[in-house]
Symmetry: C2
Subunit: 344 residues, 2 copies
């Protein structure tokens, strides 16, 4: 079978190459791939800026946002042929750190985690893959078209869980959330914000294409200007771009909580009044936290969030689909793309 692979660290090494069938040691359950979503991490891997092949291999099968259907499962596995499933992306090292040992590999302390399609484990851009039951989530069959959004939704489900858990440190009743960036992560963060009954504002520089309508479809407010220019005073900011200006706008917003989710390339230093930011954080009891990856708890929460969402809205979030063979076309980004998906 053919899989989409790169030679990690080598730009323009992306190629469909013949790979062996998944080996039983990859997991007890054999899955027919349905789709793979593409995200910023994939582009960074394709550019040669990130990624690590499995031990003993010089190529990495890419694709971590996944969706599949069980082809074969052992009778006692809890899964059956035909189940719509998604695999978790990050896995603990065989010698797990204490966080990984309790299933919180997203908070890994020793840095020896692996990630399908990113770091040390084969990805899902291939016709068939395997997973163990503890790494597999069964989805509502109604998500056959949009379940590929599970992985990015798990990221925002973790962010919102962390907002809740950190918020329990003291009395706090947020009403207004700002989301900077209307890419898939920002829009899914806005979806989960509206599902919690918050008044949500979404900020993006791209005002053409489907983003404004997708925001409006949630009952949220789209802004083509910056957070400070909008005059909105949020209780929470979810920063989904990683751009220095957006990060500084979030930190300067007087929001009680700022969640950083965006990862941008390391940039050039910009002038910052650190004394003022620090003073405002102290006098306002502000919290800023970063969040990455997701564990099984967050995938479960993501499944519930997607099942509760408007199916039409989820379909519109996927702005382009292409078969695996047309991966080159899928990877050419346009400013109005939201989520681009490869069909297997």
């Amino acid at each position: 079978m053919r899989a989409l692979t790169v030679r990690p660290g080598v730009a323009d090494s992306l190629a469909l190459v013949e790979v062996p069938e998944p080996e039983p040691r990859e997991g007890a359950i054999l899955v027919d791939a349905v789709a793979v979503g593409l995200c910023g991490t994939d582009w960074e891997i394709v550019r040669g800026g990130y990624g690590e092949a499995p031990s003993g291999s010089d190529r990495l099968i890419i694709g971590h946002e996944n969706l599949g259907r069980v082809a074969q499962a052992p009778p006692d596995s809890g899964f059956a042929a035909g189940d719509l499933v998604v695999a978790v992306v990050r896995r603990p090292d065989p010698a797990p750190c204490p966080a990984c040992r309790v299933g919180e590999w997203d908070m890994c302390f020793n840095g020896r985690y692996t990630e399908h399609g990113i770091r040390g484990l084969s990805g899902f851009a291939r016709p068939r893959w395997r997973a163990d039951p503890d790494a597999l989530i069964r989805l509502d069959p109604a998500l056959a078209e949009t379940g590929v959004l599970m992985e990015p939704t798990s990221i925002v489900a973790k962010a919102w869980e962390q907002v809740d858990r950190i918020g329990r440190r003291a009395y706090w009743e947020p009403a207004v959330a700002a989301v900077t960036g209307a890419g898939p992560v920002g829009l899914l963060a806005a979806l989960l914000g509206t599902q919690r009954g918050l008044q949500v504002h979404v900020y993006d520089v791209t005002t053409t294409g489907p983003k404004p309508d997708l925001v409006a479809g949630l009952g949220a407010t789209f802004h083509g200007q910056s957070l400070p220019d909008s005059g909105v005073k949020p209780d929470i900011v979810l920063e989904c771009t990683g751009a220095a200006s957006a990060v500084l706008d979030a930190l300067g917003s007087a929001a009680g909580m700022v969640c950083l989710m965006g990862v941008a390339p390391v940039g050039a230093p910009v002038p910052v009044d650190v004394g003022r930011l620090s003073r405002d954080a102290v006098l306002g009891n502000h919290v800023v936290f970063g969040t990455v990856s997701a564990n099984r708890r967050h995938f479960d929460a993501a499944g519930r969030a997607l099942a509760a969402a408007d199916p039409g809205w989820l379909r519109e979030l996927i702005t382009r689909r292409a078969p695996l063979a047309r991966y080159g076309e899928a990877l050419r980004r346009t400013p109005t793309d939201v989520k681009v998906v490869l069909d297997l």
Copy 2:
């Protein structure tokens, strides 16, 4: 009776002036003042940079770090003459915000809180004052000399409580804490860190005077160099200086949690690679939070921490004492001062 007062906003207006006896509306319990501690906020008020007189008055009685002994208390008040007591500093507005309503006036949302000796309420640098029972904490009689450290200890008790509460968001077992700044707040933060069984490192530019010995007296390690230069990899940083360089060192330390407690004057912008800081926070799941003031829960925790501390160490933290009349001398800071106290 004479009280130490300023005309808020007017530098060099500090003066001992005749004031009336405390009025019954200030509280049911009459307290003979024992001592008042001086801190950075007092210096800022004396310089005219901060402070607000009670409504209808043009002078503010300063002094918020307090210690007193009950002179008269109603029989049903829970207090009796002779009790060693400390008053909480921040109080809710008569129309409290939801946080103030549950006693968390330290997290006040509407900004209409008042603070004794700082903002809208008379301070404690006077021979007698009054307080209501709900604003008064009874201390272990053994703290007659050092109980004036309660208010700064309440600040660090809140910081450590917030470290714990935020830390509950996921598996986390910190072992090493770094404290930047060996002033009273830094040293008391180090005390509470060692009481929790952490390995504590304390950083200060002043390597002469009592600070290194005070740190060693806790079983902690003193560093006359910066956090990155020391090579220590802390799980938690408690930043107690507010200096931009120390804040940036804390944020760049890879610690899972950074607590900001220092308030420095708003400074000049410095070049910062915001992209790198943000990326590190995201990929490391880091939390940064600011903390200010304290509520009754934190004063109670401070009382327990001081009662459990080595009495000799606490006495050495108070490096100078002066009677109220010699306030001018008390307010002249030297680089080796830790805590300076006015005796009433």
